[in-house]
Assembly symmetry: C2
C-alpha cells in the first residue's frame, strides 16, 4: 500500500507522462540569487531547463505532462518540486522567471511529515518526500533514463514503450551519477533502463528527445503546409 495519502500520490502521478529528476545538490530553501543560479543554487539552473523541456511546446504547454525534481541539496532535504503542465500558470520559457517561481515555492514552510505538501503559484507544489517513498507510491510503468540502457528505438520496435493509456514515470539524474543506494532502490522498481542517445546528454536534452519519441508513437502528424 502507498505510504502517503492519496491526495499526495495524485500529485506524483497526475498526468500521462511524468518526469522525475534527481537533483543532488539543488538548494532546498529560497536562499539563492536568481541572478546567480549556477553559483548559489546548487545547479538549480539544470532543473529549470528540465522544466522547460518537459512542459513547453511552441505555442502552449504539454498538458499531459508533469515534472518533478527531487531536491537533495542543503539545508532541508529532501523536497519534491512538482510542476503540473495542466494547471501551471505564469510559467515562461526563460530560466530566470522560472527561477523566481521556484524561489517563491521554496520560501513556503513545509512540515517534516512524509507526504505533506504546500501549493505555491497555480500548478507548482512542494512536497516532503524521499526517493524510497516516491518509488513505493508509484503505480504503473517506471523507466530509468540512463546511457547504459537499451536504446529507445530498439525498445519501441518491440512494442509501444510505455503503457501510454496509463500514467507512466520517467526517472533521470542531474549532472551527477545516481548513488549506489539510489540505483539499487530504482532497480527494484523500474521496468526498464532506456538510453535515448548514443551521446551522454544533459537532462533537459534527454527529456526533449524522449518526448519526441513518445509524440511519434502517439501524436498525429501536423497537416503539411
Amino acid at each position: 500500500m502507498s505510504p502517503i495519502p492519496e491526495e499526495a500520490r495524485s500529485i506524483l502521478i497526475c498526468r500521462e507522462r511524468n518526469f522525475l529528476m534527481i537533483a543532488h545538490r539543488a538548494r532546498t530553501d529560497d536562499q539563492f540569487n536568481i541572478n546567480d543560479l549556477c553559483g548559489s543554487a546548487g545547479r538549480l539552473d539544470g532543473v529549470l531547463r528540465a522544466i522547460n523541456s518537459a512542459l513547453f511546446l511552441s505555442h502552449g504547454m504539454r498538458r499531459d505532462t508533469s515534472f518533478h525534481a527531487l531536491l537533495l541539496g542543503p539545508p532541508d532535504p529532501p523536497k519534491l518540486l512538482s510542476v503540473d503542465g495542466l494547471t501551471v500558470r505564469y510559467l515562461n520559457p526563460d530560466e530566470r522567471s522560472t527561477a523566481a517561481l521556484v524561489k517563491r515555492a521554496m520560501s513556503l514552510q513545509l512540515s517534516t511529515v512524509i507526504g505533506s505538501n504546500v501549493r505555491s503559484t497555480p500548478g507548482i507544489i512542494v512536497m516532503r518526500i524521499d526517493l524510497v517513498s516516491i518509488l513505493d507510491t508509484l503505480q504503473g510503468p517506471v523507466y530509468l533514463l540512463d546511457e547504459g540502457g537499451d536504446d529507445i528505438m530498439d525498445a519501441m520496435i518491440e512494442g509501444p514503450l510505455p503503457a501510454l493509456d496509463s500514467p507512466t514515470y520517467f526517472l533521470l539524474s542531474d549532472d551527477r551519477d545516481l548513488t549506489p543506494e539510489e540505483s539499487g532502490e530504482i532497480a527494484r522498481k523500474a521496468n526498464r533502463v532506456i538510453s535515448i542517445s548514443p551521446k551522454v546528454l544533459h537532462a533537459d536534452h534527454s527529456i526533449t528527445i524522449l518526448h519526441n519519441f513518445l509524440d511519434r508513437s502517439t501524436g498525429s502528424k501536423c497537416p503539411k503546409g
Copy 2:
C-alpha cells in the same frame, strides 16, 4: 561565386553541422539587460537556449557543430552572431552567462560592409551579412526545419539525410514564421524541408532532436554499463 571573402565564408560553414536561426526581433546592439532578457533583448533568450542545444553535450561541447543566429532586431540589423563549437571558450549552459558573452560581442563596432566581422571572446564572432548573402555563400546541403516538411525519419529511411562527410546547413526560424520574402529566398537554396516532430516546438528543442537523429546515423553507441 561567393559574394563575401573566403575568410568570412569559413566562419559560416566551418563545421560538419551548422545551424542558422533567424531571430526576427533580437537586438543588434548591447543595450539590453541580462537580468531582463525577455523584455529588453527582443527574445534573445530563445537564441541563448538554441546555442545551448546546438553546442552542449553532458561533459563537453559538440566540436563538430557551429551555431549562427541572424539577428534582425533594432537598432543595427542585420548582424550574424556565430558560435563555433570547436573553438568557443567560457560558454556555460545557463542563459544568463551566455547572455553576458553575447552582450560583449554586440558591444563591438562593426562596419556596414557585407562580410566584415569582429571576433569577441574565443569562438564568438559577429558578422555583417544579410540572409541573401548567406544563402549565396553556402555550398553543400541546406535543410530548412519546418513543421510542414517531410518527416525526418521518413527522409532518413530513404538515405543518410545530410551528406555528413561535408558541411551541412540547417536553417530554422525563431518563434515567428519566416516572412514570404525569407521563405522565397530559402526555397531557392534549400535541398529539402524537414519536420522533426508531429508537434510544433521551440527552436532549441528542434535542434536537440535533430542532433539526436544525426547522432544515431553517425555516432557509435556508448558501451553499455
